[in-house]
């Protein structure tokens, strides 16, 4: 009977626990929030907004799940670098737009990530809300980020071991926000030495603390493939769009930050 009570308790806790992130809304049994036209129109709106401000490089985030399901302090679920590019189309034309440099989880292997390039309409496919958080770095910071993206450092900084709550202060696991921070720090300090980057992050970056009950912390890694606390000591701390935005504001690295909604 005690086992039954324990299982029921865990079940209740898991059902009532907050989610961390994600784009599960494109799964087969998920509700359809937006039409293809709405997504395409919004993606173009964001693209034009960033281009209108002359950004060669921007950091953009999306809302993959209902904010009500996200832990306190987390407003966006994925972020990536948008790079103003010359795009050759399949029919041989050259057009201007943004290509996006993402770290994505593998859909069939959620604890593994790949570096994936796509475009704005792909970026917003399957979101919960048509909203984008945007940070436009100062031009020299944009240049430094682009130097990293264009070099072998960009791949070198990638750790395919994925955890949705990866600690930004070590390289045991990585998620899209930590990777964004790693690329940014590499650009600022002009080094690909991960130990140095993590030491700098520990000194200057303030992460988001994730508050979970002890049971969720205990059982989460057992039941959820992309959730582990092995890289954390006490509190679960992770990088988010908001904490990276705050970091950039604090050290005067930002030209402008804002959000765009449908």
């Amino acid at each position: 009977m005690r086992i039954l009570q324990l299982v029921a308790c865990i079940l209740w806790l898991s059902l009532s626990s907050p989610v961390f992130a994600g784009n599960m809304s494109t799964s087969d049994d998920s509700p359809v929030n937006f039409t293809q036209e709405e997504i395409i129109s919004f993606a173009k709106k964001v693209e034009k907004s960033i281009a209108g401000k002359g950004a060669r490089v921007a950091i953009v985030s999306r809302v993959g799940r209902s904010p009500e399901e996200l832990p306190s302090g987390i407003n966006y679920t994925h972020m990536a670098f948008w790079v103003y590019s010359n795009i050759q189309t399949a029919d041989g034309r050259n057009i201007r737009g943004y290509q996006i440099y993402n770290l994505y989880q593998r859909s069939e292997e959620l604890d593994v990530s790949d570096l994936v390039n796509d475009f704005p309409a792909d970026f917003f496919a399957g979101v919960f809300e048509l909203e984008a958080g945007i940070v436009i770095p100062k031009p020299k910071v944009q240049k430094a980020i682009l130097d990293v993206i264009a070099s072998g450092t960009y791949k070198k900084l990638h750790n395919p071991k994925y955890s949705v709550v990866a600690s930004p202060f070590n390289n045991q696991y990585q998620n899209c926000t930590e990777y964004t921070l790693d690329v940014l720090m590499s650009a600022l300090y002009r080094t690909d030495d991960m130990d140095q980057l993590k030491a700098n992050a520990a000194e200057y970056f303030t992460p988001q603390t994730i508050h979970l009950s002890p049971l969720k912390t205990l059982f989460g890694p057992i039941f959820v493939e992309d959730f582990t606390t092995r890289d954390h000591n006490d509190a679960i701390e992770t990088a988010t769009f908001t904490t990276i935005k705050n970091f950039m504001q604090k050290y005067d690295l930002t030209l402008e930050d804002y959000s765009v909604k449908l």
């Binding site: 898991s14 992130a21 994600g22 395409i40 950004a55 795009i87 496919a125 020299k140 993206i149 264009a150």
Partner: protein
């Protein structure tokens, strides 16, 4: 026996429901693969979204420098406030997922920077 069945049921249900409870952070999608189809498109081609596949994209650091590699131009422009940049009206989307190439490669990428899709 009845108790065991109940426990198994609850455990199974837990396994089914726990996954989205502490769920994913960064899954990739393609707008072309999206099932979020256009309602207009379902009934008529008129008004359906036009998508263009992008096969190569190279960062542009200044207007008129089509195809130039990053770092091959001067640094001066980065000291100045950015001017508005032109954006194509059409919507570009990623191509299909990578697969083992046939006898002839569709396109030869000279560097990872210019490739689209998974690297």
């Amino acid at each position: 026996m009845r108790k065991q069945s109940c426990i198994l049921f609850l455990l199974g249900f837990l396994l089914m429901t726990a996954q989205p409870a502490i769920a994913q952070g960064s899954l990739g999608h393609s707008i072309q693969a999206s099932k979020h189809g256009s309602q207009a498109g379902a009934h008529s081609a008129v008004g359906a979204a036009k998508l263009t596949s992008g096969i190569v994209a190279v960062p542009l650091i200044a207007i008129g420098e089509v195809g130039k590699a990053v770092g091959s131009t001067g640094e001066a422009m980065w000291d100045e406030a950015n001017e508005p940049l032109p954006i194509a009206s059409e919507t570009v989307t990623a191509g299909p997922p990578p697969s083992v190439p046939s006898d002839k490669p569709v396109i030869e990428n000279s560097s990872t920077l210019t490739s689209t899709g998974r690297e």
